[in-house]
Structures are given as structure tokens and as C-alpha cells.
């Protein structure tokens, strides 16, 4: 067995929150993004931030990271290095499997093998969402962590298979700013994607006035949909979280006060 380039992966709980939220945003497409963090001397990867990616190619099964996306993510990693004071770099990718099993397809395993050629420690994460048991009404989310390994002997054409990598979802005392920022990126990305699709149509000179009116109506409908299904619920969830936190602070301050007065009277 070749020496493992990666012994295990620690994913911060708030990173998992962001990836899951991205995966739950659509059951019709495989979303994807890049994972940012560092690998320590004992070959343990610590993932502490996320970069959500635009679906460059809307066709369902195409999960492929463009060079621009990789460079942009590297820039964000540098920014984080300064902010967190720890060297941050792109060390993996994730994508969603809506309605299908969590296991990587052979295309996924091949894609992962290609990334590992550039960086042997590169890790692949898949989140399966929207799977439910119609009878028991139970719903399930699964997250798996893998690398690719070539099982065919030297010299023969490579046969890549999945290599399980242990994954720990690491509790975090609080929801980090970078993760919150990634969360709020999603509606922005979706809006930009929709506007770019529309803008592309405005350049088509052969389109009739009716086609142009149609396209503007499609844009409006799509933007309303994103606002209602993504922005709205995000505002609601974050406002409620802020309220919970403020309420919790008040309760803790009271408890601290009562404890301190108690101690002082002893």
C-alpha cells in the first residue's frame, strides 16, 4: 500500500454548515465548491473555510473546476491566511449528490485522481441530500470523505477506485466570520449566474422583440425565485440566530451576576 498522503480530515462544524446549506439549495443540480485549510505534519487536514463555486456548466453531471475558479479560491485562501494568522490554502473540493447515493461516481473518482496529481493531499467530500424513505417519512443527509487510488499494477492503464478517508466534524465554539461570509455569498452567486445567462441573450442580434420580452420575464421570475427561496430564508435564519445569541447573552450575564454576588457573600 502506498504511504497514505492523508491520514484523516477534520472539518470544522461551521464549514459543514455552509457546505450543507449550499447542497440543500437545489435538488436539480450538483452544486460544488472548494475547501480551504491546512495539512499538519501528521498529514491531518484541517478544513476551516469554504469557497462556493458557480456552476460553469449547467449540465447536471459536469462537476469540473476551471482554472479561474482555482486561482480565485487561492486568492481567498491568502486573504484568510492574513485574517486568521494561519497559512490557509485550497486543500480539497466538495459537491452535492441530490437524490442519489453519497458514493462518488467513476467520473468523480477520476476527477479526484486528476486533482491528486497536482496535490497528493487533495481531499474529496460529497454530501448526499434530499434522500427520503417515502414510507417511514425519514429523511437523510450523508457526508463522505475520499481520495482516489490506482488499483491496477504499474504500467497498465490506471484503474481508479475510492479510498475512504476518516472524517471528523469538529465542534466549534462559534460560527466563524469567514463561514458566515460564504453563506451570504450564495444568493450573490446565484443572482450573478442568472444575470449572466440573461446578458448573454441580449447580445443575440437575431432575437425578435417577443423573444427579448420573454427573456426579461424569465429573468424576473428567476430572480424572484432566488430571493424568495434563498435570500429570504437566510435572512430569517440569521436574524433568529442573532436574537437567540442576544437572549443567551442576557441570561448568561444574569447568571454571572447571581454567581458573583453569591461568591462575594460567602
Amino acid at each position: 500500500m502506498t504511504v497514505m498522503a492523508l491520514s484523516c480530515v477534520y472539518m470544522a462544524a461551521d464549514v459543514y454548515l455552509v457546505c450543507l446549506q449550499h447542497a440543500l439549495s437545489t435538488e436539480k443540480e450538483e452544486v460544488m465548491g472548494l475547501l480551504i485549510g491546512e495539512i499538519d505534519s501528521k498529514k491531518v487536514a484541517h478544513i476551516s473555510a469554504v469557497v462556493m463555486l458557480r456552476r460553469s456548466d449547467k449540465r447536471k453531471d459536469r462537476v469540473e473546476i476551471s482554472p479561474e475558479q482555482l486561482t480565485n479560491a487561492a486568492i481567498q485562501a491568502d486573504k484568510l491566511t492574513h485574517e486568521l494568522g494561519r497559512t490557509m490554502r485550497v486543500l480539497g473540493w466538495y459537491h452535492s449528490h441530490p437524490h442519489i447515493t453519497v458514493w462518488p461516481s467513476h467520473v468523480d473518482v477520476r476527477t479526484q485522481a486528476i486533482y491528486q496529481m497536482m496535490d497528493e493531499g487533495f481531499v474529496g467530500i460529497i454530501i448526499s441530500v434530499f434522500s427520503e424513505d417515502k414510507v417511514s417519512k425519514e429523511q437523510q443527509v450523508q457526508i463522505t470523505c475520499f481520495q482516489s487510488t490506482n488499483q491496477s499494477p504499474e504500467g497498465e492503464s490506471p484503474q481508479y477506485i475510492r479510498l475512504e478517508v476518516p472524517l471528523h466534524i469538529q465542534p466549534t465554539s462559534c460560527l466563524s466570520k469567514p463561514c458566515l461570509q460564504s453563506m451570504v455569498e450564495l444568493p450573490e452567486i446565484l443572482f450573478q449566474e442568472e444575470k449572466d445567462s440573461y446578458d448573454a441573450t441580449t447580445k443575440l442580434t437575431f432575437l425578435s422583440i417577443l423573444a427579448q420580452l420573454n427573456n426579461k420575464a424569465v429573468l424576473t421570475q428567476a430572480l424572484c425565485h432566488i430571493t424568495e427561496v434563498v435570500s429570504g430564508p437566510l435572512v430569517m435564519a440569521l436574524e433568529q440566530r442573532k436574537a437567540n445569541n442576544q437572549k443567551r447573552c442576557r441570561e448568561l450575564l444574569q447568571e454571572r451576576e447571581s454567581l458573583l454576588t453569591l461568591k462575594s457573600t460567602m
Binding site: 462544524a13 427520503e132 437523510q140 443527509v141 424568495e228
Partner: protein, 269 residues
């Protein structure tokens, strides 16, 4: 009169709920915040009979986790009404259910869950008993630790038995009815609606598409400010939790009031 009931959940709501459960290694409980929307639609069956179908949607849009150190019910599931009130404060109107997360356990309600469910339902009168919802969650690890599985299920109590409810997660990929003719179940916060309303008023000329872009930009600014507040409050809470925790552990007489919940919380299962 056919009745149809379903739980709807936004992506953020579910992801924050699961986050609460992975945020620490302990079991976790809390309240589900949202609204109950009932909508009557006429039906014309094949045999020409005109009927009415009430569609009840239990829309969960966020949650109120109960800090592990705080509890307002005893080991058997009997609740302490004042404590619950003081915990919920003005939010009690928006509570539509509760959740219980236990690692490596099945999604079958324990005896204590059943009792607690009835007690909590009684303490939240604005929600009719058959709409008050319980969400059970669990998680387990498999495949040599490479794969984490999260299961969750919604139940309600009706005709003296717990029945599972179908669940729908709102997302961009849902098949869209052309015209929206039912109340939106992705309930939006007041601030969200105020932003949109004010923009609509000030927006006379220009296309609808431009209006939606305005709305989106305003919402993004709102979200930017919001995450700053949330980030600060997260740090503030973490610091206070640590500080108060230390105070609690420090030797010296402990007031009964703080001790009691711990004593009563010996687990029944």
C-alpha cells in the same frame, strides 16, 4: 373533506438545526420556530363531486436551541411552566414544535419524549395539538469513520398515537407552479418584507427585473450587516459561556436554583 398535512423547511433552517447537533458532542434539544399555514382549495374529483381540501403546512423557518445546562422539565418529562415561559419570553407565539437530537439512537420517540411532547403542546396553546410537531434527529458514523449519516423525522400526536409527517425542503429545484396561488410557506422576516415594500413604493418607472435587482442588492446589504452582528454575538456568547461555566465549577457553595436541573436530569433511557 380531505385534509393534507406536510412539514416544510427551508435549507438554512435544516442546516442550522443539524449544525446545532454537530456543534458539540452532547445530545441536544430545542424549539422549532415558524408558522402554521392552512389553505383550502376546491377539488373536482373525476366523479364530478365538488369537494374541499384543506392543506395544512407546518412551515419551520428557524430554531431556538435550549442550552444544555438549562432545563425546565424533570426526568419524567414534567415541565416547569414558569421556567419555560421565562425561557421563551415573547418568542412563545412563534413556537410550532420542538426537536430532540440523540447520537446513535433510533428515531422512535422515547417515553419521556411522548410525555414532554404533550406537556409542551399544552404550554403552547396557539398551536392546535394535532399541529404541534416533534422532530427527532440522530447521527451515526460508518465506513471506517469516512461517512457521517444524519437522519431526521417529523411526527405529530393525533388520535392518541404518534404519526410521521411528510417533509419538504424548499429549494430552487422544486417544480414551480406557473402562477403562485398559495400563501408562500417560505415565511419571510419582517425586516425582509419592509425592505421590499419600501423599494416597491419608491420604484415607479423601470422594469420589474430592475426592481428585483434593487431588492436583491438591498437584501445583500442587510445580510452583510446581519452577519457582522451575528459574528460578534457568536464570540460574545462563547466567551460568556466559558466564563460562567468556570464560575459554576469553582468550589464554594452552589445555590440550589442552579443545582436542581442537573439533579433532575438523570436520564431515564
Amino acid at each position: 373533506m380531505a385534509a393534507h398535512i406536510c412539514v416544510t423547511l427551508s435549507g438554512p433552517a435544516l442546516s442550522f438545526l443539524i449544525y446545532e447537533n454537530v456543534k458539540c458532542y452532547c445530545d441536544q434539544e430545542g424549539f422549532l420556530v415558524g408558522e402554521i399555514i392552512s389553505h383550502v382549495t376546491d377539488t373536482i374529483s373525476d366523479s364530478q363531486i365538488r369537494g374541499e381540501k384543506t392543506e395544512t403546512i407546518i412551515s419551520v423557518n428557524s430554531l431556538m436551541p435550549i442550552p444544555s445546562c438549562l432545563s425546565f422539565y424533570n426526568g419524567v418529562g414534567k415541565i416547569n411552566e414558569e421556567k419555560l415561559k421565562s425561557f421563551l419570553k415573547d418568542k412563545s407565539k412563534e413556537v410550532i414544535g420542538w426537536y430532540s437530537f440523540r447520537r446513535n439512537s433510533s428515531l422512535v420517540p422515547h417515553l419521556r419524549d411522548r410525555l414532554l411532547h404533550k406537556e409542551l403542546s399544552a404550554a403552547v396553546p396557539h398551536v392546535s395539538p394535532e399541529h404541534f410537531t416533534m422532530c427527532l434527529l440522530n447521527t451515526s458514523i460508518s465506513n471506517g469513520g469516512s461517512t457521517h449519516v444524519f437522519n431526521h423525522k417529523f411526527l405529530r400526536y393525533r388520535h392518541s398515537k404518534f404519526e410521521a409527517l411528510p417533509m419538504q425542503i424548499h429549494n430552487l429545484g422544486e417544480t414551480q407552479p406557473e402562477y403562485k396561488i398559495v400563501p408562500s410557506t417560505t415565511s419571510l422576516s419582517e425586516s425582509f418584507n419592509n425592505i421590499i415594500a419600501s423599494l416597491k413604493v419608491s420604484h415607479e418607472s423601470g422594469s420589474d427585473a430592475a426592481l428585483v435587482c434593487h431588492i436583491q442588492r438591498a437584501l445583500q446589504e442587510h445580510l452583510r450587516r446581519l452577519i457582522n452582528d451575528v459574528a460578534q454575538s457568536e464570540i460574545r456568547v462563547a466567551e460568556l459561556e466559558k466564563e460562567v461555566d468556570m464560575l459554576r465549577q469553582q468550589p464554594g457553595p452552589m445555590p440550589n436554583e442552579v443545582l436542581l436541573p442537573q439533579l433532575l436530569r438523570e436520564d431515564l433511557n
